[in-house]
Symmetry: C2
Subunit: 363 residues, 2 copies
């Protein structure tokens, strides 16, 4: 394959999930990849998977990608900068302020370092979970700073593009604040909500609907991994969580005295603020999310959902999103389908004419 | 149709979303339904939709279903008990303690009243949004008390079953505590999280992933409706929110001093508590959720997802759940498919042999 931007060779230090996935993808594109890991077993596994070849003492990499845990990232980057004085070095740690600060303290050559963070794949770890397509369509943050020139940093953007990711440039501070807001705080909020269910009665659990399921889905994440992530970005997360707690205090206050003056208004503003916040999220292809949603009843037997989607395709309607919900205790599924508002009326008519039952259309 | 349990006639008071939906469904099953509403326009609309006939002065209903807003529920139930001394009366308000208490204070005949709460359809209101199949597969709480006999209450369970709902019996206190936990608190938590995004930068919004989308989905709900719901169940919600805030304070404390003794443990316990809570939620058909999940890459063009699902059906694998995720900026979708663990390995093999790209398999 020749559809690549990187010249190579690329040296990957750390053959866990991210390092091995990067190696697999670059190797598939014909980039020369050399691998290094302090664990010979990990290294051999990644080589067996086809993620690259073993690094040689005289290697001259164009780009070094450090894929080690956050607590050893800065030290490892500094070593690579020292050992390979002609190479550009990046890392993929999920926090960006601390490594840059630590490298500065170590006196590292920051004219050849730029940090990055692919927003991808964390549910399993190790080379065994690696996939060449892990980064396709995912945002890849490049944490710019002033001590490196635009031209020198270019291969990191080429790396992201070669892996199918979408490069997004921001400072380390912006990155850490942003992921605190869109990733780390949601994790805390969801885990703490789910924690309230620990002692839930069976009768409470029986009433759980899709809203609760959605809100607590990421609460299944790996605690050990998340303790590391939360600690590494603690200052930014605390800032967001404190603002969240202030809002929560207001709501609790309003509910403690629901008939007091201003209580209705506090609740209304909290809920309306939620509406406004959701509207900030980009949807498919970066569009804002203004889709019409239909719920179609689907018999719970193999092939029914496929038949529904085939027919929607036959009408020429492009589905923007799809969710399947099983009602507890029922032999039926509810398919929630999002389409452009202009297509809604026709889709409803076509589906009903073919005998599909459409439950409530959602605002 | 004769597959019904209720004898009828059934009188429905209040022809909004729930009242009209109940009328449509019962009428379709051949139950005689009479409708009443203080708004003649609402009433005529519901009759036009086919939800029932206009109530006559000499009517003798078997069962009366009061479907009016929570703040007028008790008064309306009391009037119906007085006006129809041979009828059983129920209501569908989303809180159950307050109406029972108010009826007791009014000296109403509680030997003919039992409250209920269908956990269904709230996104739009009015007869115009009504659907006969709104209740299919949904839990329908029946709030038992000691002043009514089992035999007298039976038609309310028949009502739920005739509508395709799943009757679940609990006390009014249990109900209000349970919905505070599984519905009202998640709404507050999600709205307040989404509210933090109000001033999010574009660069933060660009990093938003599926986790944040899931956690904030219900934050799109109607603020006016939710102000009413939260106020009506304030004491139970406050109890849950206070416990939630205590946990949040612990996490904030741990992140303010991430290197202090016990800080790691506090974070780990919070996150592990979330794991434990999620495992309390029932999955499809009431099973606990222990599915294997695969992510399959699907080209973002009409018909591709249908083709995938058709092929999965051909392998004889039953999909337990499905989600579709569009990556921002990418012309590709990620279909997250849940199957029984025993089916996972074969499905991966079959899909890969047909050229589908499977991204990370999730734990």
């Amino acid at each position: 394959m020749t559809d690549r931007r990187l010249a190579g060779p690329v040296r990957i230090v750390g053959t866990g999930l991210l390092g091995t996935s990067i190696g697999l993808s670059l190797t598939a594109r014909g980039v020369d990849v050399e691998l290094a890991d302090i664990s010979p077993a990990s290294l051999e596994l990644a080589i067996d998977y086809g993620a690259g070849r073993e690094a040689q003492p005289d290697s001259q990499p164009q780009l070094i990608v450090v894929c080690v845990p956050p607590d050893v990232t800065a030290r490892t980057v500094a070593e690579q900068l020292r050992d390979f004085p002609n190479a550009l070095v990046t890392d993929v740690a999920s926090v960006k302020v601390a490594p840059l600060r630590d490298l500065r303290a170590l006196g590292a050559d920051l004219s050849r370092y730029i940090g990055s963070h692919p927003m991808a794949g964390r549910e399993r770890s190790g080379a065994i979970a690696a996939r060449a397509d892990l980064f396709i369509g995912r945002p890849w943050v490049i944490a710019g700073h002033h001590e490196i020139s635009y031209g020198t940093a270019a291969p990191v953007e080429q790396l992201a593009l070669d892996l199918g990711a979408v490069p997004i440039e921001m400072t380390a501070e912006e990155h850490d604040r942003n992921v605190a807001l869109v990733s780390h705080t949601p994790q805390v909020v969801s885990s703490l909500l789910a924690r309230r269910l620990t002692d839930a009665s069976d009768s409470a659990a029986a009433l759980a609907g899709q809203g609760l399921r959605d809100t607590t889905r990421i609460a299944s994440s790996d605690p050990e991994l998340w303790v590391q992530i939360l600690r590494a970005n603690a200052p930014s997360i605390v800032e967001t969580l404190r603002a969240y707690r202030d809002d929560l205090d207001e709501v609790i206050g309003a509910l403690e005295a629901p008939d007091a003056a201003g209580s209705r208004r506090t609740l209304a503003e909290s809920l309306a603020g939620g509406n406004a916040g959701v509207s900030r999220l980009p949807g498919k292809h970066g569009q804002a999310r203004h889709f019409s949603r239909l719920i179609v009843l689907v018999d719970d037997k193999p092939g029914e959902l496929a038949r529904l989607l085939t027919e929607i395709g036959e009408f020429g309607v492009n589905m923007e999103d799809l969710r399947l919900e099983h009602s507890p205790g029922a032999q039926i599924g509810l398919a929630e389908i999002s389409v452009l508002p202009a297509a809604e009326a026709r889709l409803v008519k076509e589906l009903e004419s073919r005998g599909w039952k459409i439950s409530e259309a959602l605002a």
